[in-house]
Subunit: 179 residues, 2 copies
Amino acid sequence: MGGSEAGDDSKPKGNRGISFLDFIMRIVAILGTLGSAIAMGTTNETLPSFEQFIRFKAEYKNLPTFTFFVVANGIVSAYLAVSLVLSILHIVMSGARITRVVLIFFDTVMMAFLTSGASAAAAIVYLAHKGNASANWIAICQQYNSFCDRASGSLVGSFIGVLVFLLIIILSALALSRN
Amino acid sequence: MGGSEAGDDSKPKGNRGISFLDFIMRIVAILGTLGSAIAMGTTNETLPSFEQFIRFKAEYKNLPTFTFFVVANGIVSAYLAVSLVLSILHIVMSGARITRVVLIFFDTVMMAFLTSGASAAAAIVYLAHKGNASANWIAICQQYNSFCDRASGSLVGSFIGVLVFLLIIILSALALSRN
């Protein structure tokens, strides 16, 4: 990983490559999580009703799990934006150790937070699609079609974010082991 | 962290302490995840019914998310048992680098897997307790009281496992940075 470049001190150069990759991947994760937060946060569907005063409206605020999903994605994308500072620092100072350990810690916490939000939302999206006969929960997607599609789609960016976090953490560990 | 012991080469000794802590924490995580899998996997509740041929039975198999939870906890506890081998190796060879990076990778994957199972189950447990008015999902816990208590309780071991994984990963990163 960049270690093939000829040079007197190949290890720091390799770490510089890793740090640059880290920076790019954080941008990807920001796009994914921010996209997820916006996609879930802005979708709503109002069903036409014959009764004038009764309106059925589906939006993320009505489902606490989806609210958690939007909040988690928002916080994680904000964290990722802040973490870019340390990421740039690691490109410049490729021999850094303590800041890498600090970053691994926060990355792992944020990865768990994001995984938590994405998985909880996925469980509810699954339920909305399939329903559950034994619990008597109906599949609301049959009514709220476009809301369900949007909610399902918004999971993608979040899970991409989880995968990117996994790569970021392993790259940081690799950089630490080469120092 | 063990570094306070007097010695000529304090760093490897410190890593030995970290590796020993790693071993102990993996045991704790095994107990947590195995306990969760068993607690959720063995609970079921059959409601008394006046109709002879209709029986309402709540068990984890009827809720796909709970099945996922049991499988995830089972796989993670099995992984943790296997990982004890590398953990012991790190106590003996406290200067190891490559195996630590490998372990960080698998630990992170398993942490995400466990977080996913625990959070998805938590979303369903929350729904079972509170229900959701806008989606017309009833709070089944009012009927299946003991099933719900058991399912809620089984989340604890799993989330303890997630916290322990977080500590294990950060300790591994710390050990790598001291090598």
